[in-house]
């Protein structure tokens, strides 16, 4: 090795370090400002604006947040929604992918294609009509009865057609169900199942185990790490959703924390907006997912690289 290359490496490493430091600054800067502002009293904030040094009112601001806003209840909503999204997505992905990989049926390809179609159009692009469907999920049944002429018969017979109504707006199922209609989880699990050696199935069959025992005793334990990664990613996804929960929930009591935070407008006290309170809200709303990320790092990285198609 010549001295030149050593010198060269040191120079590159210095550049790399500076780049990373800037990157860290870019990511951490807004978070630091959030925390500092959340720790200031409203009065000192009104006097001097954004400040480089933290204040002493963090607890006080969070207390105000808990007593004067709906954020605490909305954090619970977010938790329930994120948990439901993650749990159902994992469960659905697991059984669906299992069925598609470990059985040999001619229609598996069609089912898979139907499910993968969902990846192309995110929920945000179909909110207008999804809203209509969720406001009456029985609508397709009515439509089917009308289209097939059954309803005309019923109307002739009983004097009135069937008109079923089931409104899911402003409820947990209404927020969660449309978020489940995506095939990414199925795709991830299918890719994973296909990496399992075929001998596993053969061995299970020799032991006389049916598909159900194989699914519970063998496939599930093997998929644990991947399911955990999927679960965490979907939980974060559920927690950070915005447009759909914004529309599906209309009362503050049903809104998720992220929606509540965005609506945390100052209530006409006739002063500068209460940014310390709003930033305290941002801290409370983001703290759980941030902790998950900081401590469950390897699952997240695994999950993200798994979404790579």
């Amino acid at each position: 090795m010549s001295g030149d290359i050593v010198e060269d490496t040191r120079g590159i490493d210095r550049t790399a370090s500076i780049v990373l430091a800037l990157g860290l600054l870019f990511i951490l800067g807004p978070l630091v400002f959030t925390l500092i502002t959340a720790s200031q009293s409203y009065d000192s904030f009104v006097r001097s604006g954004i400040s480089p040094v933290p204040g002493t009112h963090l607890i006080e601001n969070i207390r105000r947040l808990f007593t004067t806003t709906a954020i605490p209840a909305q954090v619970v909503n977010s938790f329930i929604v994120a948990l439901m999204v993650a749990a159902f997505k994992c469960a659905l992905a697991f059984v669906t992918a299992f069925g598609l990989v470990f059985f040999r049926v001619h229609y598996a390809g069609i089912v898979f294609a139907v499910l993968m179609g969902t990846v192309l159009l995110p929920l945000d692009l179909r909110v207008v009509t999804t809203y209509q469907v969720v406001s009456n999920v029985a609508m397709p049944v009515n439509g089917l009865l009308n289209a097939t002429g059954i309803n005309a018969m019923i109307a002739a017979f009983f004097g009135a057609p069937v008109d079923l109504q089931l409104n899911l707006l402003d409820s947990y199922p209404g927020i969660v169900l449309p978020a489940l209609a995506t095939g990414t989880g199925v795709f991830m699990m299918r890719q994973f199942f296909r990496t399992l050696p075929g001998d596993l199935v053969k061995a299970a069959q020799m032991d006389g185990a049916g598909w159900f025992r194989f699914m519970i005793d063998i496939a599930l334990p093997l998929a644990r790490t991947n399911l955990t990664a999927l679960f965490i990613l979907m939980f974060l996804g559920g927690w950070t959703m915005y447009l759909w929960p914004l529309l599906a929930s209309s009362t503050p009591a049903m809104q998720t924390a992220v929606v509540g935070l965005a609506r945390l407008s100052p209530q006409g006290d006739g002063q500068v907006p209460d940014y310390p309170l709003i930033m305290a809200g941002a801290v409370v709303v983001s703290i759980l997912p941030l902790l998950m990320i900081a401590f469950l790092q390897r699952f997240i990285v695994r999950g993200l690289t798994l979404t790579e198609k």
Binding site: I5, A16, V19, L20, G23, L24, L28, P30, F33, G49, I50, L92, T96, F102, F103, V105, A108, L115, G117, L120, L121, D124, L125, R126, V127, V128, T129, T130, Q132, V133, V134, L177, P178, A181, G183, G198, D199, V201, Q205, F214, W239, L243, V258, V259, L261, V272, Y275, I278, M279, G281, A282, S286, P289, L290, I293, A294, I300, V301, L304, E308
Partner: protein
């Protein structure tokens, strides 16, 4: 052929819950979007008239639609490019295994846990012309920065927030790609006297071409939709429509303006556009990436 279980309909039953959900909350809404785009719906129901392509004619001749489409495209190109170049540079640096690399690999993923709407609220505050970080500069040069009245400032603010929020995924994917590049390759190039920039250009970038293409493709779709939370919390499409991207316009027309047919028509158009992007991905990029590999 790998061994498999017997049972003609078992997989169907296993997939049924998922199929039902997808039918009800994906295919029916998509179908309805297209159906509504051919009718004139009364907001309160009770009357919808089939109008053929009239909605399309109206939307496509509306300069505001094209304005929003143009801004969507600009955001897509600038937003995606920045949201890939920034993580790429960071990934190249983190790949050097300098002392900061370890911290960076943890911290740079944090934005993944912060909702777009939350970061919108925070950035709207940080970039507030009177109380935010630009306040001192504004004091020196009054009117220098005001995203509330200057469309360009608002668009820049939107881009910065988008890049911030997009770093984790692209960083992880690109870094994973870089780390899979055999060390021997870069070392050989170094010994041949290739400068660091040349090594990046001639060795590393071509080797991570698949990851780069992937991030680009995903980022394109992502930037079309994910901007909504940022727009709604920072600019509401303003000032003067400067940050009104299509996804926000659809929301405004459909939910604030009771124009269900217009919103459905624009949804349908945007869907077709996104589908074309996807088709482009599958047909063209896949081939190219495989070739590169």
């Amino acid at each position: 052929m790998p061994p498999s279980f017997a049972g003609r309909w078992t997989p169907f039953w296993l997939s049924l819950p998922m199929l039902l959900i997808v039918a009800l909350f994906f295919y029916i809404p998509v179908y309805l979007s297209f159906w509504w785009s051919f009718t004139l719906e009364r907001p309160f129901g009770g009357g919808s008239e089939f109008v053929g392509f009239q909605n399309y004619a109206r939307v496509l001749s509306d300069p505001i639609f094209w304005d929003a489409a143009w801004r969507t495209l600009v955001f897509m190109v600038f937003g995606s490019t920045l949201a890939i170049i920034v993580p790429l540079i960071l990934a190249l640096a983190a790949d050097r295994m300098v002392p900061l690399s370890h911290t960076a690999r943890n911290v740079l993923i944090w934005p993944k846990g912060i909702a777009g709407a939350s970061i919108g609220v925070v950035f709207a505050f940080i970039f507030n012309p009177f109380v935010g970080i630009m306040a001192p500069l504004n004091g020196l040069f009054p009117g220098l920065w005001n995203p509330g009245s200057d469309g360009t400032d608002a668009f820049i603010m939107l881009l910065i927030a988008h890049v911030w929020n997009g770093i984790p995924f692209n960083f992880v994917i690109l870094l994973a790609g870089l780390q899979a590049v055999p060390r021997s390759l870069t070392q050989a190039a170094a010994i041949d006297g290739a400068s660091p920039w040349r090594r990046i250009r001639d060795v590393q970038l071509p080797m991570i071409a698949p990851q780069l293409f992937l991030t680009f493709v995903l980022e394109f779709t992502e930037s079309v939709v994910s901007a909504f939370a940022l727009i709604d919390t920072m600019t509401q499409g303003g000032p003067g429509g400067a940050t009104r991207l299509l996804v926000y316009k659809i929301y405004q027309d459909g939910f604030k303006g009771y124009d269900l047919s217009g919103a459905a028509t624009q949804s349908a158009i945007l869907m077709v556009f996104v589908l074309c992007l996807a088709a482009f991905q599958f047909l063209y990029l896949e081939k190219k990436v495989r070739y590169e590999r």
